[in-house]
Symmetry: C2
Subunit: 426 residues, 2 copies
């Protein structure tokens, strides 16, 4: 029966029963975590053989004869650039391979733009007064944290089932020269799992921003992270070329959720002008990134197809976890009409919308019952979810059994908060 | 016979003979390189067994049980922090372990100070108008390149046999609030190999800069890179504590010339306040650096003593190379009185001073004869050696036989340039 159709007495009885259950759960002293998008130990073990690819001196040389133990190759090993190029659908010359963290590359790109400006830009962003970024919401908290740290004002843009609301994006960037960028996770968006439609990607490529130094930060973190069949994302880089806006998108990706979250590779892809501009300061910043780890990756993955095959093994581990969460939501929450959620076909997150004004309450209830969730509001700039309704669920890390237990607690908390709301108790 | 005692006829005869030799050398079509401080292949092979330390899943866990394959530990693996702490003579809590490049950490520290200011500072450096760094010269070109990129004005300070001229350093920093930093390579300074005396280090710790946000960038790149017996550098961090200036020094080091130049570890050490300030933005910049590579290092080096033992093997390879260069200088140049040079007991470079106004000429002559040197002027801010006399010699990379050939060509070029100068031909 829907909560909205219950009378006060029925809701009160409901809440009493739920609170009793909650007390029992609390007594168990659980310690479960659905807070961050970390691969599980099983997933990490999939790449164990990569560790064996470089185990002696003679393994340290690339096919082209580069001694990966020594200095050099600022742009990354050519073979590694090629691998990422094939994953992203660009040319190797458009790729820079970095260290282990794509977040670090994104931060560095924003910092460079702040300090030195972008290719073709007149002035550093930091010398242009107040500047702004568009932030599709809900989105990735760490993107927003970069803006907040750098003092870049963030403007929320709603997500639709096809990606960010492009009418709003087009309008804002064409009118406001102080808007210098937008954060996008175009495939299996963090946290709702949306894949940008072809039309959305095309409209991004066709943007005509008022700011000549506007950039699209295209964080393709889940480029090959399909849970079911392969889902194709339109190629923003080739579309941008067609529209003559090749310098607009900067693409990021990593192997954090392909090989090792703590020891993978990250890369960026961009136009020749952007790459040259980046290299100008990157060459002052470092002599080069860890090439032996780049070599491990290219020895382990012969090509992009090998990566895709590898991702099927990840999917096999992750699918039951996503399905566990979604099944529980379907069984426990759907009949009550007190929540809705995304059903992603890949990526690392499920986005759960509870009753308006209840997300923080659910977070707290879950926490006190020993289940850690990503803090309510985290997927919004400044941590502020105006509706206080969104929770980001990360099912990847716990084993299925723990996840079953955790999601049961979560559903209980969602019900309690909703009942409290309907009863006017909060 | 000293050139200074030769008459014109004698010098002319000399030059004619030298030019004939030079033509013969040129005809050989040599391709030799003494330009950068790269470890040789033999040296890199010393660490081959490190590659075997992590070759399967069960190797990926630290003693404390951390799964190094996954996210986490922004500050670095505790065991790696301890290893660097012992090398640098600080506590593990004062150490952050980064990626493969200490240059990258230095760049990031300067960039952070520019954008966000330093611990206890009022404003970001970039919001304080023109700011300046002191640059002991000759010094490390990549340090100076960071300042140039960031628009930080550089002021030369002369090197003495005990380190930078401290009278000048003390005077300048106490008078000028716009001076925010100084670059130091305190042990086996790049390029002259000077080890800062205990008194110099003490005077650094005792500095009372007018700028409260002044920092000493203490690049201890060659902390354990002794060619002969171990040379001790005074501990600036504990001295600074005594003088109540604990926040002033920021120490950097790496294993680039211990394990792999292209796949080592870098670290910084600083006061708690500095570390906390850095972590605030570092935690936005990345989730963490490559922990598996950190684990490889701590598995391979049980402790700092193991590192020192390892460095003896490097010394054995490097010593004959340094001695080859110094012997040639002694035999070829000393009798003519046309150059002087440093005789370092460690590090990676020899500093050669030729006749004033001749360094560029020597560089060009050598280049045309197939011997690549670091460009004349490189060890000076803005690439400008006022006296045009200094050349940085890097003997580490070429095999001894090649080095013998290269240094012979170099000496020939030094003689030609000197003869030309004495004859008034340049």
């Amino acid at each position: 029966m829907l909560y909205s159709q219950m009378n006060k007495k029925e809701l009160n009885d409901c809440l009493e029963k739920l609170n009793k259950e909650y007390c029992e759960v609390k007594a168990k002293g659980l310690r479960l975590d659905m807070s961050r998008g970390k691969p599980s130990s099983d997933q990490l073990s999939l790449s164990a053989d990569m560790l064996k690819t470089v185990s002696e001196d003679s393994d340290c040389f690339s096919d082209k004869g580069t001694d990966c133990r020594n200095y050099g190759l600022l742009e990354g090993l050519p073979e590694a650039r090629k691998l990422f190029a094939d994953i992203l659908g660009v040319e190797a010359e458009n790729v820079l391979v970095g260290g282990a963290s794509s977040l670090n590359i994104m931060y560095d790109e924003v910092a460079r733009a702040m300090m030195f400006g972008v290719a073709g830009g007149d002035k550093p962003w930091s010398k242009q007064g107040k500047i702004k970024f568009l932030c599709p919401v809900p989105g990735y908290d760490r993107h927003f944290a970069i803006c907040e740290l750098m003092g870049i004002e963030m403007i929320n843009v709603a997500m639709t089932k096809d990606g960010p609301d492009m009418d709003t994006v087009e309008k804002l960037v064409s009118e406001d020269e102080s808007i210098k960028g937008i954060w996008c996770v175009p495939k299996y968006a963090n946290p709702d799992g949306t894949v940008y439609s072809d039309e959305t990607v095309r409209r991004f490529a066709a943007l005509r921003p008022k700011a000549k130094d506007f950039r699209i930060f295209w964080d393709n973190a889940y480029a090959v992270h399909d849970l079911y069949e392969e889902v194709k994302l339109a190629n923003i880089f080739s579309l941008a070329k067609q529209y003559g806006s090749e310098d607009m998108p900067i693409i990021f990706t990593s192997t954090s959720k392909i090989t090792y979250a703590g020891a993978g590779l990250a890369a960026m892809a961009a136009s020749k002008a952007n790459i040259e501009k980046t290299k100008k300061s990157l060459g002052i910043q470092t002599i080069g990134y860890d090439k032996i780890n780049q070599l491990r990756h290219v020895k382990y993955f012969a090509d992009a197809n090998a990566v895709k095959e590898h991702m099927k093994k990840h999917a096999k581990i992750l699918r039951p976890k996503f399905e566990t969460v979604l099944r529980a939501f379907e069984e426990e929450l759907r009949p009550l009409g007190i929540a809705d959620w995304s059903s992603p076909k890949g990526g690392y997150f499920i986005s759960l919308n509870v009753e308006k004004g209840c997300a923080k309450r659910v977070y707290t209830l879950a926490k006190e019952a020993g289940v850690t969730l990503t803090p309510a509001g985290a997927p919004y700039p400044y941590g502020t979810d105006q509706n206080d309704e969104n929770l980001r669920i990360a099912p990847s890390f716990p084993p299925v059994k723990e996840l079953e237990e955790a999601v049961e607690v979560l559903c209980l908390c969602v019900k309690i908060a909703a009942a409290e709301k309907y009863l006017g108790l909060m």
